[in-house]
């Protein structure tokens, strides 16, 4: 939709050596690649499970959006808060959620974070105040509702004296909801450290973005609130990281809420049942050429960070890991029907499995303290 995605030219440019991404170590670059690939492979595995009717209900892919999802989350500190949407598998992988948690959710296992009570990525993690873990609050289906909640999380953390930046993702379509508006305005007035990532992926279900809003750039959705906003090429992972990092730092520094628009493309239908015949083929083709993972491989090659062979190895590692995790989850039990009435109120203490977190095989790098510290390679976790 936009003429040309822009970065905030005032502060830095792609070629600028001050770009935050210039500070990323080789391991970190590889780690970003790994998370994006892992997100894709987890979803590919979900497609297999879906075809086997092991996924209950719908399956929603983030194909083509893994890059922005990872790169935005990669700009956070480990203890920050994330409020992902259904297409932010990349953010969840980046925050260290063990893939098995996703499979458990999609297959409605009793071992899942919601114990089979809620769908897909509707997971919640509220760590102890001292734990070196992120806050994760999955969405409810009512679009937009996450935004006020995200504002409240960042506000509440500040009140508790343990400030966290909250990052919430929102689709182009979801920005049309009243809840989005109220949450954005509230965050702006209260100067809350909230970074909203607004994903222009060209469609909301069947509806092209022009039927959703009469503005040309999604980041202008922030203009009514006095919230700083920028638009970035969502398929250029380093550009996304740069923009997100600057915004996260600004939010952390007390400059208030920020909105980052990402220009990207939903490469499949809304969900698996949707063949998306309403999407012009030319549009898809143009974006296929811009696949974020392929592009990022090019960047890694160019920078001399990794050869294709090494990247192929990472691909394989991610794929195998996803497969093992899926298999492990599939062998876990469905919830016990007798548990259906448990845990509605606090006076019925019904235990919830805590989400498991893992560290990536690249987590040993120094530098930004955004990633989980090293401990084990992924393979050891299954």
């Amino acid at each position: 939709m936009p003429d040309k995605p822009i970065l905030n030219a005032d502060e830095w440019r792609i070629a600028d050596p001050d770009r935050p991404s210039e500070q990323l170590s080789r391991e970190q670059l590889l780690e970003m690649y790994y998370f994006a690939r892992l997100a894709r492979e987890v979803e590919e595995r979900l497609v297999v499970l879906f075809r086997q009717s092991k996924v209950i209900g719908g399956l929603y892919r983030s194909l083509g959006q893994e890059g922005e999802s990872v790169a935005t989350a990669y700009a956070l500190e480990r203890r920050d808060a994330v409020l992902p949407l259904i297409r932010n598998m990349g953010a969840l992988m980046t925050m260290g959620v063990r893939p098995i948690e996703i499979f458990r959710q999609y297959m409605a296992r009793g071992t899942s974070n919601s114990r089979g009570r809620d769908l897909n990525i509707h997971i919640v993690h509220l760590p102890d105040a001292d734990a070196d873990e992120p806050v994760i609050v999955g969405p409810i289906s009512m679009l937009g509702d996450s935004i006020p909640v995200a504002a409240g999380i960042a506000m509440g953390a500040r009140m508790r004296g343990r400030p966290r930046v909250a990052m919430a993702w929102i689709g182009d379509g979801a920005t049309s909801t009243g809840a989005f508006h109220e949450g954005m305005n509230f965050a702006a007035v209260q100067k809350i450290p909230l970074v909203v990532v607004a994903e222009d992926n060209k469609y909301a279900y069947s509806k092209p973005i022009a039927r959703q809003m009469a503005i040309r750039r999604i980041d202008e959705r922030a203009a009514s609130y006095g919230i700083a906003h920028e638009l970035v090429d969502g398929n250029d992972m380093l550009a996304v990281y740069d923009a997100a990092r600057v915004m996260v730092e600004r939010a952390r520094a007390g400059e208030g809420a920020q909105l980052l628009g990402v220009d990207t493309m939903r490469m499949q239908g809304h969900a698996q049942h949707d063949d998306a015949r309403y999407v012009p083929k030319a549009l898809l083709d143009a974006w296929t050429a811009k696949d974020p993972l392929r592009q990022f491989r090019g960047v890694l090659n160019d920078r001399g960070a990794a050869h294709d062979r090494e990247l192929d190895d990472i691909d394989k590692m991610a794929k195998d890991y996803a497969a093992r995790e899926a298999e492990a989850a599939a062998s876990e039990p469905l919830p016990d029907p007798a548990s259906v009435v448990r845990g509605v109120y606090a006076d019925d203490p019904y235990t919830v499995p805590k989400l498991e977190f893992v560290r990536s095989p690249f987590a040993g790098s120094p530098g930004l303290k955004t990633r989980p510290t090293p401990e084990a390679v992924a393979g050891d976790d299954t």
């Binding site: 209950i56 209900g57 409605a108 296992r109 009793g110 919601s114 089979g116 009570r117 809620d118 769908l119 509707h122 409810i140 289906s141 009512m142 679009l143 937009g144 379509g173 979801a174 049309s176 909801t177 009243g178 809840a179 909301a204 279900y205 069947s206 509806k207 039927r211 959703q212 809003m213 309403y278 469905l334 919830p335 016990d336 029907p337 007798a338 548990s339 259906v340 009435v341 509605v344």
Partner: protein, 324 residues
């Protein structure tokens, strides 16, 4: 007569009403060329174009609010809520603006707000709700929910022609599972009239929507044990057909209230109150409710099965009731 599904019946009603009355138009999310999340509006856009098939942003309050405005100008909007659960997002607009308008200033609001309700399809907490009880304390609204394809068509036509706001709940479990002989053309099922679907003498199962079919199955099982259950399909949830309810209870002397929403605070309460107040003399046994558990709708199939009312639960409750 053609055999059509519940879903086709809804589509037919929309199509025919739009053809017959140029004031009728549809609005909602993805209802245009795409035909809606469940394809209920498929073909409408092709036939009637953008002007009468308004594909809206994701804004339930704007959908209902603008429908109110358009209805003031003489239009007859039919709003689709993609899943009826999202009606919570326009609760204010419906209960405060639409419902009170006629009473306050004589300004009728002839809109229909329709959408798929109900569980049984693994939809989880936010794609499975039965919201009728949210709106039962709001005078000025009408509510209907068909159990058959015939009623699906006839109630929707009646709703569109009604001069007041009507919430039309269509049960997604029935969309493609139920077929009826439904005549083309005018089929109007009056709002406010329940239907005795099965005659019986031992107890009345008062129900509606997908649960009518559960009630049938339960009645069949009970008949095997010599218990004759009457099945009363409410069809209209507001205003309730008190006469039909009381007449049936007067006949069978036992009432089993079957509904798919959560038990507490559900429509069964209102039904129980009507019966306990006005048919007390006739009651030979407690009024029994069979409904879903008092929890959010769970997602995993074994949980949802445990959550929902079932034929077994109805049969058990009915047996206890007749043995009382």
């Amino acid at each position: 007569m053609p055999l059509i599904t519940y879903l086709e019946a809804i589509r037919q009603a929309l199509f025919e009403e739009m053809e017959a009355d140029e004031r009728v138009f549809v609005m909602g999310e993805d209802i245009g060329a795409y035909g809606g999340a469940f394809k209920v509006t498929e073909g409408l856009h092709e036939k009637f174009g953008d002007a009468r098939v308004v594909d809206t942003p994701i804004s339930e309050s704007a959908i209902v609010g603008s429908a109110i405005g358009a209805s003031y100008m003489g239009m007859r909007p039919v709003c689709e809520i993609q899943f009826i659960d999202f009606i919570a997002c326009c609760f204010d607009m419906l209960t405060n603006f639409a419902a009170t308008s006629r009473y306050r200033n004589g300004a009728g609001v002839p809109i229909v707000v329709r959408g798929p309700c109900g569980g049984g399809v693994g939809g989880g907490p936010f794609h499975s709700l039965n919201p009728e009880a949210y709106f039962l304390n709001t005078p000025g609204l009408k509510m209907v929910e068909p159990a058959t394809a015939y009623d699906a068509k006839g109630l929707l036509k009646a709703a569109i022609r009604d001069d007041d706001p009507v919430l039309y709940f269509e049960h997604k479990f029935l969309y493609r599972r139920i077929k009826d002989e439904v005549p083309a053309g005018d089929v109007v099922v009056p709002i406010g009239k329940a239907a005795v679907r099965r005659e019986g003498s031992d107890l009345t199962i008062i129900t509606f929507g997908a649960m009518v079919h559960t009630a049938f199955d339960a009645a069949a099982a009970l008949a095997g044990d010599g218990v004759q259950a009457e099945v009363l399909d409410l069809r209209t949830l507001a205003p309730l057909d008190r006469d039909a309810i009381l007449a049936s209870v007067a006949k069978t002397n036992r009432a089993l209230l079957l509904y798919e929403a959560r038990r507490t605070g559900g429509i069964g309460g209102e039904l129980a109150a009507i019966i306990a107040e006005e048919a007390f003399e006739y009651l030979d046994a407690p009024i029994v409710r069979v409904a879903s558990e008092d929890v959010p709708v769970p997602y995993a199939p074994p949980l949802e099965a445990a959550f929902l009312p079932s034929v077994d639960k109805v049969v058990d409750a009915a047996k206890k009731l007749v043995q009382y």
